[in-house]
Symmetry: C2
Subunit: 454 residues, 2 copies
């Protein structure tokens, strides 16, 4: 058995148990484990271990018993479907040493569910109405698999469906309120997430060093805070968590937020967002979301002219609901002929400087701005690889330009990685350049003139 | 302890152990577990359990000991870095009851590595040269973290870095050959993956039922094959694995492949690819990859005119290296003004039928084809949601058209899900429509005329 420290004597520990052959065979990536882990952190529950087992009763029972010895909570996902492979209820009953009982209300609901869809309810479907004796039923308003909670040797085991959206809703609506009620001592650990694009991990780390060292001297709470860097090129996140120290002193949210200003100054213009980090969905869209909000707030419109990103910038912007209020469209100018015909790039520029060059990037952005009739236009032209590199323009060279009424700014990016990585980084860095332009140049209303429609 | 069946008396079992607080807190999704699982399947090794533990020696040791009781192989990822959080070598030594020894060759290599980068080697870095006594060193040519193998109570434990590309290379080059050598009885389970777009999971299931039932009657090997459906909307995969039955009889690769023809016929035109399913990378790009290959093979060019997908089709096509040989570019026509100005869609069409309509979809594709000068052009216009739906054009309505010299085909899609899901499904279904057009209409050379340049 694992020995788990419990210094403050009142931290609530959890074991995450995910069930299914497909998770072990690698056919499905175990996102439920990470998702439950994030919810636990937000609840103030400490995840001490996770297991994944096959669809076999004896193996599921063994894992549940081990979890009960290690933690006060066991969160289970999967194995609640109607097929013979779905064994979670049977296993939980065996682990608790009880039988299964049919819940008539659930059976009625299943019957109604199938009836409404004109499908016949067969006996195997009714299996989903059978739960361990004494279990608390967890409603599933969007699926046929009800969840349940049982007590197992002092550990509270919550069983939820493996289908992500059903799991998410049940965890939020059924599990978390019960956990909060049962463990009155739970206090969510305050958290701050600082997101930066345009600085490397080591340089962010170097820049904030002094601020963090000073903070640790200021109070015992800040002294024990947990600092975590997360690099997802080209983005770097600095995550602060007010984890309580050995004497149980943790910083409060206000104290933690007092670091915003000095950290903003230390990280510099690469920093684009500071949040509580509670938005566990849509993480990958955060920069585009912010940009769309700022564009709409200022009543400005955006157009794109993409070569190496091939539509990725447009796709990132339009991933945001409501982006039609600011995004007019763009040209994917992959072939030089399209750069010339659709964006008005002069053929001589292409011949003299090559497609990946400052003059072409500028002409693309300016062409998109006037021809598509937008306040701002952004362009990309570069070498995404694996082929196409040359000594002076190696793979990863990407030219980006942003055109506004006030003029056109330009930047050459030198990016690392495989084709996908380079394109992803170029997309985010281009969006960041648009945001910077919006916040700097266009904060002066004189610089916002109606574009000439082409 | 978990009881694990070992019917044939010679199957090799593995336990996957992933190490790191970030995996339990959900800051990182555990892709290494799934990746190692897929490699095990390809090797013929059966993964019987997976665990994730925190960066604490006593917890790592406990997990290693449990793994050794359950399996012949334990594959470990993570905890090999130079920081105080990296405890895998120390833990493996403790689990095996041995000490750590410094490997001078590794220390020299670290020194050379840092020297070449002009960085100073500090004592903590040398930690990466300390491995359990008696361990076999696993080279890491692309990073500082060497891996190692140790024997633990009859179980062979392989420790690899958590950085995915380092893990992948070490597993392929260092671990797999050793596993194959040690377990001579290993036979990879033959596998077939059938991918379909345009049919739902239940309809694919229904259609192949007869073929599979007949196959099971044909031989004991086929009788015991494992059939798995994997739905990643809008794609459905049918996966066949020649898992040996209780009498150890499994189908061979030739026998399994004999099902291709009847399954092709049963699944129908939705089927677009049949493979061994061994390409564990780039899975998400498989349709675009195939389309780009077919376009290049036939010397045809493609252009796009995207509204609701916002650049996603262009991004999907240009994700493929070498796509510049067939993809000329596209217009992201989000605003109606762009549909009119850049694609030549008549303003009356938009006023009469609305942007989401057959005439507009057709005009967009035809406009892109002539103006961008391509053999084929594909368009999308639809309601991605969450807003913008109406009774006759609810959220999820997407019109797709494909224009060629032979004429324009059109399809209305009715898609489900959230905005991201609808856009993703529309992108893949549009690519599928292009592929179908290519394979049908354009297989007649008379239908391939040079487009008029606009």
């Amino acid at each position: 058995m694992t020995e788990v420290g419990n210094a403050a004597g009142k931290r609530v520990r959890a074991h995450l148990l995910t069930i299914g052959d497909e998770l072990l065979a690698g056919d499905v990536i175990d996102r439920n484990k990470a998702w439950m882990g994030r919810r636990c952190r937000a609840l103030g529950v400490e995840v001490v271990r996770a297991s994944t087992v096959r669809d076999r009763v004896e193996e599921i029972v063994a894992a549940m018993r081990e979890a009960a010895e290690q933690a006060e909570l066991c969160l289970v996902s999967g194995g609640l479907g109607p097929t013979t492979d779905d064994l979670t209820a049977e296993s939980a009953a065996a682990a608790a040493g009880v039988g299964l009982v049919r819940h008539q209300a659930l059976a009625d609901r299943l019957e109604a569910f199938f009836g409404a869809r004109g499908r016949e309810l067969v006996e195997t479907n009714l299996k989903q109405a059978d739960l361990p004796e004494g279990a608390v039923v967890l409603d599933n308003p969007i699926g046929t698999a009800a969840g349940f909670a049982v007590e197992l040797r002092g550990c509270w085991l919550f069983s939820m469906p493996g289908v992500p959206r059903e799991l998410h809703q049940m965890m939020r609506e059924q599990v978390e309120p019960r956990v909060r009620e049962r463990f009155a001592q739970l206090v969510a650990v305050p958290r701050r997430v600082y997101r930066a694009i345009g600085s490397g991990e080591s340089s962010v780390q170097q820049n904030v060093k002094g601020v963090l060292a000073e903070a640790r001297e200021r109070s015992p709470g800040l002294a024990s805070m947990f600092v975590h860097y997360r690099a997802r090129y080209p983005e770097v996140q600095l995550i602060l968590e007010a984890t309580p120290g050995p004497d149980d002193a943790g910083a409060n949210a206000v104290e933690l937020a007092s670091l915003d200003e000095p950290l903003r100054a230390a990280i510099g213009p690469a920093l684009y967002s500071v949040s509580l980090g509670e938005d566990d969905e849509g993480d990958e869209h955060s920069l585009a979301k912010l940009l769309v909000a700022k564009l709409i707030e200022r009543g400005l419109s955006l157009a794109t002219a993409e070569s190496c990103t091939g539509g990725g910038i447009g796709a990132a912007v339009t991933a945001i609901a409501g982006s039609s209020a600011c995004f007019v469209g763009g040209v994917i100018a992959y072939a030089n002929a399209v750069k010339i015909a659709q964006l008005g790039v002069a053929a001589e520029l292409l011949a003299t400087h090559g497609a990946v060059s400052e003059p072409v990037a500028r002409a693309m952005a300016e062409g998109a701005r006037t021809r598509l009739g937008a306040d701002i236009a952004v362009s990309t032209t570069g070498v995404a690889g694996p082929g196409g590199g040359s000594p002076d323009k190696p793979v990863g060279t990407v030219d980006v330009a942003v055109a506004t009424a006030a003029g056109t700014s330009y930047k050459r990016l030198l990016l690392f990685g495989k084709r996908d990585t380079i394109r992803y980084a170029a997309t985010l860095l281009a969006l960041k350049l648009v945001l910077d332009t919006l916040l700097d140049t266009l904060s002066n209303p004189d610089n916002v003139a109606p574009p000439t429609s082409g």
